[in-house]
């Protein structure tokens, strides 16, 4: 196999959606047997590019070649038959079917009588388990597997389709560090067999640990595409966000001494939070950061009665307050902007107006009747405040852009005039322009004396927005640092619970339980991976 056999070539790919130019003349080339990392901020165009590769979207311009031959990928089936498999963050597995049935789905071997030949099916599936040496039982229903194990099933499924190019969309997002190490072991196996992996991740350390080649996308264009060893972490961050950090975020403040809006005293939640104490003051934006699954999300959910509290006290505005249900939390002046706005934040089939007025309907009635004029006024004012752009407030929320949807959620909670605003992943899936507006809005709310607790898996966002950053590790608050001066490295250090010097040692430890430290140089990680 020659070192530079090009397997996939996407040339001059452009794609626009109404109002957004998602990709602009993107060229993306993969070499056989390499791990090619595709990085960029949310909304940079990574998913659009991969959906074009998967045949889900058709490009407006540009061409795709596989093994040097032009290929038309008009639907997912075309892509599959050209040897392209995509493993999405949400797996395409059928939960109550077994591992073997999932791997062989749609291609089950038949007996002479046309029924499914279970013996043969298990036999054929076993080949893939043996190949990767996976410690999973064939007859286990997929729903009984961990997320990491399900991911391996997806990989085996891809292999069984003779996939030469396997795209993994944020494969590590829901994995523990040890599971990440395992996944990387499988990726190396795939590489050795000549498969090409396109690896999409927000975790730059992982990118450096696994990638041979890195392509950076920003605002729908390729910023650079180079061998991984020629890019430093600093370059990567600069390429991805660069100078925009300063332009994107409104100015932060020094930690204040204003009166506390929220205090937690030794709050524990079974299996999730351990003795968390913190104070959030009037006018403050406090960010909560950490590796995924270390309690950040749970901490924010405790504040709205969505996670149980076993011990400890919560004080709102200086008074011990019962926040055990959303209603009680709302009455105490808490607003909750969920990280999953489609499931927990919006009524997609309803109008913007109905969405905004929902939490305030109880104050909008005369006798038993809804005060329609009052509702209109309330919704119109809130919509104006957050600058929702839509043809009218009667429009269905489901038809809006992500940015306008998020503004609708904010508007809805502003009608309650809360003292504390809890915000999860405030800019997930929205474009950069709307992001800036959301940041500005959150800061304005803080300036008006409200307290904002923000949780995000985007470290740049946490650093850029927060006056103070709380870093969580294993359900505890591991660090409390001023936002000004906080760095990704500093946060990661606290979040992993290790010093940088320790990480290099751990990385070399046997057993694949690699923790990829932020300051690991590419050279070091390459040694580990071989």
């Amino acid at each position: 196999m020659s070192e530079t056999e090009t397997i996939l070539e996407m040339r001059g790919i452009s794609k626009s959606f109404p109002g957004v130019r998602a990709l602009n003349a993107v060229t993306f080339t993969c070499v056989k047997g390499q791990v090619h990392a595709l990085v960029g901020e949310n909304g940079a165009g990574k998913s659009t590019l991969m959906k074009i590769l998967a045949g889900v979207y058709q490009p407006d311009a540009g061409e795709i070649a596989l093994r040097g031959k032009p290929a038309r990928l008009q639907n997912p089936r075309d892509a599959q038959s050209h040897g392209i498999s995509i493993i999405y963050q949400e797996f395409n597995l059928i939960p109550f079917m077994t591992v073997a049935e999932n791997i062989m789905l749609g291609r089950e071997p038949r007996t002479r009588f046309g029924t499914i030949d279970k013996t043969k099916l298990n036999h054929e599936a076993q080949v893939w388990l043996d190949l990767l040496n996976v410690p999973i039982r064939l007859r286990t229903p997929v729903e009984e597997l961990s997320v990491a194990q399900q991911q391996i099933v997806e990989i085996m499924k891809a292999l069984s389709y003779d996939a030469e190019v396997i795209v993994m969309d944020e494969p590590t997002a829901a994995l523990t560090p040890i599971e990440v190490g395992n996944l990387f072991r499988y990726i190396h196996l795939l590489k050795e067999r000549g498969h090409t992996i396109i690896f999409i991740s927000h975790r730059l350390d992982e990118v450096f640990a696994i990638a041979d080649w890195i392509t950076i996308l920003k605002d729908g264009e390729v910023v650079t595409s180079q061998p991984a060893e020629q890019i430093t972490k600093g370059d990567l961050v600069r390429y991805m966000v660069g100078r925009e950090l300063r332009e994107t975020f409104p100015p932060r403040r020094e930690p204040s001494q204003a009166e506390p809006v929220l205090e937690l005293r030794n709050v524990s939640s079974p299996g999730r939070l351990h003795n968390v104490s913190l104070t959030v003051r009037r006018g403050e934006v406090v960010g909560v950061a950490g590796l995924e699954g270390h309690g950040q999300r749970e901490l924010t959910r405790v504040l709205f009665g969505l996670e149980p509290v076993s011990t400890g006290q919560i004080l709102v505005n200086g008074k011990v307050t019962d926040l055990t249900s959303p209603r009680k939390a709302m009455r105490a002046g808490v607003a909750f902007v969920s990280d999953d706005r489609k499931v927990e934040g919006l009524q997609l089939p309803l109008s913007i107006r109905s969405n905004i007025s929902l939490p305030s309907l109880n104050r909008l009635h005369r006798l038993l009747l809804v005060h329609h004029a009052g509702e209109r006024r309330l919704a119109a004012n809130a919509a104006k405040e957050v600058d929702i752009r839509s043809s009218s407030l009667s429009a269905e929320v489901g038809t809006l852009s992500g940015g306008n949807q998020q503004k609708t959620v904010l508007a809805k909670w502003l009608t309650r005039d809360p003292d504390l605003i809890v915000v999860g992943e405030p800019t997930r899936g929205i474009d950069i322009g709307a992001k800036v507006e959301v940041y500005r809005l959150l800061r304005e709310l803080a300036d008006r004396g409200k307290a904002v607790v923000l949780f995000s898996s985007d470290l740049i966002e946490v650093i850029g927005m927060s006056d103070r950053v709380l870093v969580m590790h294993d359900g505890e608050i591991a660090a409390d640092m001023p936002g000004i001066g906080a760095t990704e490295e500093g946060i990661m250090r606290a979040a992993t619970g290790y010093d940088i010097s320790d990480i290099a040692d751990l990385g070399a430890a046997p057993g694949g339980s690699t923790l990829f430290g932020p300051d690991m140089s590419p050279a070091v990680s390459r040694q580990n991976s071989n």
Partner: protein, 330 residues
């Protein structure tokens, strides 16, 4: 409006004509379809369009119409109530016992009938919210239970409700049959509740997204129970009307109403996923079903054809709603 001028240039408080037309597209489609059916019916049989026959159609539509009002509440919450037909039968049977040749028992019988309907509705609501049985399964269960109780009480049709009570189904007031007033009253009250009360807003909210509604501090369980109570009550009112019409007890009289009311609601553009739809659409759906059966009778075609036609129209109408949504969706 004053506040609309204060709004950003991009977002008006009120919708433009074209937006109103677009947002009401399902209503426009369904009333267009109804109109087309009425025109074709009149061409096929001019007698269809006489005042007498129109009154007839309306009276025939009354029971289904009232039941479909309740069904609309339930389906708007993303639920379904297939027990309504059995509830109507049960009410008829209860009345045929309590008012059997007994004019003094009529008022008590009506109240007992209504109470029975509300009780089954309450059971539905509690089972769905407290026991977490899916709406389909829960109402399938109560459908069977109510039908069983009705059959136990009246294995064969029988009983005689006094002729005095026949006024509800047969009399006219100002030249218009009483059932039409009853139908109109239920529709008006239902429409008023959906449009102007908090409960109505909450119904749409729960159907739009239950979790979001709960996180907005609303009592979603109580709202859902309320919807099934309304549905049970409407089915019981229809039962009272039916017993005035046939004046005896028949445990199978309501059988077809369960699926017919769902057909009417869905035909009327209400989404089975909840949150979207209106009573106005449902009424059109009811009229379409009632006119089909009427015109078949008038032109002497086997009424069995109405099932075929009804099924075909349902599938076409729903596919059309879906097509529209897809082509305009985000």
């Amino acid at each position: 409006m004053a506040q609309s001028s204060a709004l950003q240039k991009n977002t008006r408080d009120t919708a433009s004509i074209s937006e109103i037309l677009y947002s009401q597209r399902n209503i426009i489609i369904i009333y267009g379809l109804l109109l087309a059916i009425l025109i074709v019916a009149t061409i096929l049989q001019p007698r269809f369009a006489t005042a007498e026959n129109i009154k007839n159609v309306l009276v025939q539509a009354t029971a289904l119409g009232i039941i479909s009002v309740g069904q609309t509440f339930v389906i708007l919450t993303a639920g379904i109530d297939i027990s309504v037909g059995s509830i109507a039968s049960l009410v008829v049977v209860i009345m045929s016992h309590l008012a059997d040749r007994n004019a003094d028992g009529v008022i008590g019988a009506v109240l007992a009938g209504l109470a029975a309907g509300v009780l089954v509705g309450l059971l539905n609501g509690l089972g769905i919210t407290r026991l977490h049985v899916s709406p389909f399964m829960m109402t399938l269960g109560t459908m069977s239970i109510a039908a069983g109780v009705a059959l136990q009480l009246r294995p064969q049709p029988g009983g005689l409700i006094p002729a005095d009570f026949g006024w509800l189904a047969s009399n006219q007031f100002l030249g218009i049959p009483v059932p039409i007033y009853l139908f109109a009253l239920v529709v008006l009250i239902g429409g008023f509740v959906l449009k102007f009360t908090r409960f109505g807003k909450h119904i749409y909210a729960v159907g739009g997204n239950e979790e979001t509604t709960r996180l907005s501090g609303l009592p979603t369980d109580r709202i859902k129970i309320g919807a099934y109570l309304v549905s049970g009550l409407c089915a019981a009112i229809a039962g009272v009307f039916l017993s005035s019409r046939i004046r005896s007890g028949d445990a199978s009289i309501g059988t077809s109403f369960g699926l017919d009311s769902i057909t009417a609601v869905v035909l009327g553009g209400t989404s089975l996923f909840g949150g979207k739809g209106s009573l106005a659409g449902t009424i059109a759906g009811v009229f379409i079903i009632a006119s089909l059966s009427n015109i078949m009778n008038l032109i002497g075609v086997s009424t069995y054809y109405q099932y075929i036609l009804k099924g075909g129209i349902l599938i076409i109408a729903v596919s059309f709603y879906y097509y529209r949504r897809r082509s305009h969706g985000a």
